[in-house]
């Protein structure tokens, strides 16, 4: 009896752990719990995506698709799928968390040894990337979690006023 109960408890614990593991990417549970003017955050406070049942994505995920394909696509391939020499970020974000992602994009990365010479530039001084960093993150996070498929999202939410204001502040007079 005790053994059966123990086995059942073990199975239940494993099932619970498994289900929560399945809903976590590199930054944890991606479920959106907070909505700040159309920008979504998970329970840890990391930016995250929100996809409606009919496939409509939030503005920042849509913006991330566009900005990814401007500056990241040239090495990392379309839709976060990777190229012959740069990793598929839709896979990287399964284990890479938000703060590490920010650090890599801002500071760059070097993998130079006898077998390869892969160098990612530091985008820290590039406003075209840094002003949209959260957008690129939530798009890739959505791709890593299979919440968004390949290609341009067909439907997206309207651009919130807060997003335009943030852009203007970030770019300053130049924009």
């Amino acid at each position: 009896m005790k053994t059966l109960f123990g086995a059942a408890m073990a199975a239940l614990i494993i099932a619970l752990c498994w289900s929560s593991l399945a809903a976590a990417d590199g930054s944890g549970d991606p479920a959106a719990v907070k909505d700040e003017d159309g920008k979504y955050f998970d329970k840890e406070g990391n930016p995250t995506y929100k996809v409606q049942a009919d496939g409509t994505v939030d503005w920042h995920t849509y913006s991330g698709f566009r900005r990814y394909h401007s500056d990241c696509h040239v090495c990392h391939g379309p839709d976060g799928m990777g190229s012959t020499y740069a990793p598929a970020l839709k896979d990287s974000l399964k284990t890479l968390n938000y703060s590490d992602f920010l650090a890599v994009v801002a500071g760059g990365r070097r993998n130079v040894n006898s077998a390869q010479e892969n160098v990612m530039p530091a985008f820290g001084t590039n406003a075209n990337v840094m002003c949209y960093l959260d957008d690129i993150f939530v798009y890739l996070r959505a791709r890593a979690d299979d919440a968004v498929g390949r290609g341009r999202p067909e439907k997206h939410a309207e651009k919130p006023a807060a997003a335009s204001a943030a852009e203007d502040t970030c770019f300053g007079a130049k924009h």
């Binding site: 401007s70 190229s83 012959t84 892969n118 160098v119 985008f123 001084t125 341009r152 067909e154």
Partner: protein
């Protein structure tokens, strides 16, 4: 008497001077006439990529086999081709741009190796993989154009550095990927950085000591672009004062692009060097109103002075990234009963151009891929105000920022990218490796930071509607502008072609196949799968009485970025599964030279 003496001595001096500079020229021209060697990037100055060798021919090529191989030790996109001079083959690699001299008398034993020490920080400012398009030779020296823009002259016998100059500044996004070209007593070299807001140029260095002789920018004031407002012509008319700056807003030309990362051709009789310039910066057209001259332009320049004799801009106010840098092939053919000196160019924009290379007169401009839709054609009426301009189809213009413009053909990677075509004087046909891909293109505003990408558009690519092949290898009649035959390929054909007197045309596929087809019909006669996708240029040489065909394998370049994961149809609707073939299912990285020959 004295008068006669003076005349004679002047003549003698002139003759000596001519002999001095002509010697550098004549020696190389003579070497390029030896079909056993391959002494410059396209074998000959006319860039025809045609070899008179015919030991391998349409009847026996089916028996071709791999004779020997060489691993470069580098795993990135391998563009260009080796040189062969006598018993030595010179092989180059992508970054770090190593150079090997191989002894063909001793099974490719390495005679010397040059391994430049470059700062890896140049890698991230190379937009489209760390490729290098190859070496040049002149006066006992091998010339290499490194990624960090160093132009270096190596002693061909020992590999020792004879001289070295820095042609640009990687911290400003300037890099080197093109082959240098030895023209007379100079080495000409371009520069890359069209996606980094670089004001690009072609520079001529003295072959003996690397001193800079002249530099011609693609955009800017007349003295910088080296045109004569009265003498330099554009379709027969003088270009006039400030022909470039008056087509840019404010100072935008200073970060204007027009990069020169492609191939050059040279006509020794006309004393003209031909090359094309790339896209204007940014990819967002609304940020740079005006025709943006002289981006997207065919230049004919005097190699001694750098001055332009004629120019022709193919895509004014580019809205699609259709760089004009592809090869310029020189041929002599008869058009409308008249023998003409021609230059033929297969542009990224999908049009095959034939011009008179002496005057710059435009003779033919026709689509070499039927899918091309951004233009309804070039105005060929000499009396029209729009003479020479392509008529843009409004539906495929990308002038509105933040709007996704759909269904534009060709995609930004063009109906053909840098991979060079070949010409056979036997068939009078051009053999062209093409891309068959369309795109959605959305421009948006971007700000400029030196050394950072300055792009300003997002794009998605896919084959034309209803089709699944992403490439075609075609035969083209440049006299009239017509496709003669077309062989479909699953992926874009990204290798340089080779035509031979054996009635054959060779090319490589992105899956890695080296193929030989019949020059008259396109019928496939031979294929062999090399270790990795081919983006190199097929070449041929003879050694020990035997003909060899060689090609570099090593997938990468823009094909390796855009096609690795497979394209998807963005208009298939929600829930569409899969898409088109993914290159990553057929090949992975490699770096190998495969050399083929007939069996003993």
């Amino acid at each position: 008497m004295r008068y006669l003496l003076l005349k004679f001595s002047t003549f003698g001096a002139v003759a000596a001077f001519a002999a001095g500079s002509a010697y550098a020229n004549d020696a190389l021209i003579k070497m390029s006439e030896n079909p056993k060697d391959w002494v410059m990037p396209a074998r000959t100055y006319d860039a025809q990529r045609f070899s008179p060798l015919k030991q391998i021919n349409a009847a026996n090529v089916g028996k071709l086999q791999a004779a020997w191989t060489f691993s470069t030790g580098v795993l990135r996109g391998h563009e260009g081709a080796p040189l062969v001079i006598g018993n030595v083959m010179y092989v180059h690699t992508p970054f770090p741009n190593n150079v090997f001299a191989l002894d063909l008398d001793h099974d490719g034993k390495i005679l010397w190796k040059y391994e430049p020490k470059q700062d890896p920080n140049v890698i991230p400012v190379m937009c489209c993989d760390t490729v290098n398009r190859g070496l040049s030779y002149g006066d006992g020296k091998i010339f290499l154009h490194q990624a960090d823009t160093t132009l270096v002259a190596l002693d061909a016998k020992t590999g020792q550095v004879v001289w070295s100059v820095k042609n640009g500044d990687a911290s400003k996004g300037q890099t080197g990927t093109s082959a240098p070209f030895v023209i007379k007593d100079k080495v000409l070299v371009g520069i890359s950085g069209g996606e980094f807001g670089v004001q690009c140029h072609v520079t001529a260095y003295d072959m003996k000591d690397g001193k800079r002789v002249w530099r011609a920018f693609s955009e800017g004031p007349d003295n910088e672009i080296m045109v004569d407002p009265e003498k330099t012509t554009d379709l027969g008319k003088p270009v006039g004062k400030d022909s470039s700056v008056r087509t840019w807003e404010g100072d935008q030309w200073k970060i204007g692009g027009g990069c020169t990362w492609g191939w050059m051709a040279f006509d020794p009789q006309l004393n003209l060097v031909y090359y094309g310039s790339g896209n204007p910066s940014t990819w967002n057209p609304s940020q740079r109103p005006g025709d943006n001259r002289w981006s997207m332009t065919i230049f004919a320049r005097n190699p001694d002075t750098g001055m332009a004799k004629w120019v022709y801009q193919m895509t004014p106010h580019d809205e699609w990234d259709y760089d004009g840098v592809n090869e310029m092939i020189l041929s002599d053919q008869t058009i409308d009963g008249r023998a003409r000196k021609l230059v033929t160019h297969f542009d990224r924009n999908g049009l095959g151009y034939t011009l008179d290379r002496e005057s710059g007169e435009l003779l033919v401009a026709q689509k070499f891929d039927p899918a091309v839709n951004w233009t309804s054609g070039v105005d060929m009426n000499k009396n029209s105000a729009n003479y020479g301009r392509p008529t843009v189809v409004a539906e495929y213009s990308t002038s509105k920022p933040d709007v996704n413009h759909t269904g534009i053909c060709p995609a930004a990677l063009g109906s053909k990218d840098e991979q060079p075509a070949a010409y056979s004087p036997d068939t009078q046909l051009f053999y062209v490796p093409t891309n068959h891909v369309c795109m959605d293109y959305e421009p948006f505003k971007v700000s400029y930071t030196a050394g950072q990408p300055y792009v300003g558009a997002t794009l998605a690519m896919y084959p034309p509607k209803g089709e699944s092949n992403m490439g075609n290898f075609i035969a083209w009649d440049g006299k009239v502008g017509k496709i003669v035959w077309s062989v479909p390929e699953q992926f874009s054909v990204w290798s340089g072609a080779l035509a031979t007197a054996g009635g054959l045309v060779f090319y490589g596929t992105l899956e890695g196949y080296l193929k030989a087809v019949d020059a008259k019909t396109g019928k496939e006669l031979y294929k062999f799968k090399t270790p990795s996708g081919i983006i190199g240029n097929v070449m041929t040489y003879e050694h020990g009485g035997k003909q060899y065909v060689a090609v570099l394998s090593g997938v990468g370049g823009w094909a390796g970025i855009g096609l690795a994961a497979g394209l998807t149809d963005p208009h298939a609707g929600l829930g569409a599964v899969g898409g088109y073939a993914a290159l990553s299912n057929y090949t992975s990285l490699g770096g190998q030279l495969t050399v083929f020959a007939l069996p003993e």
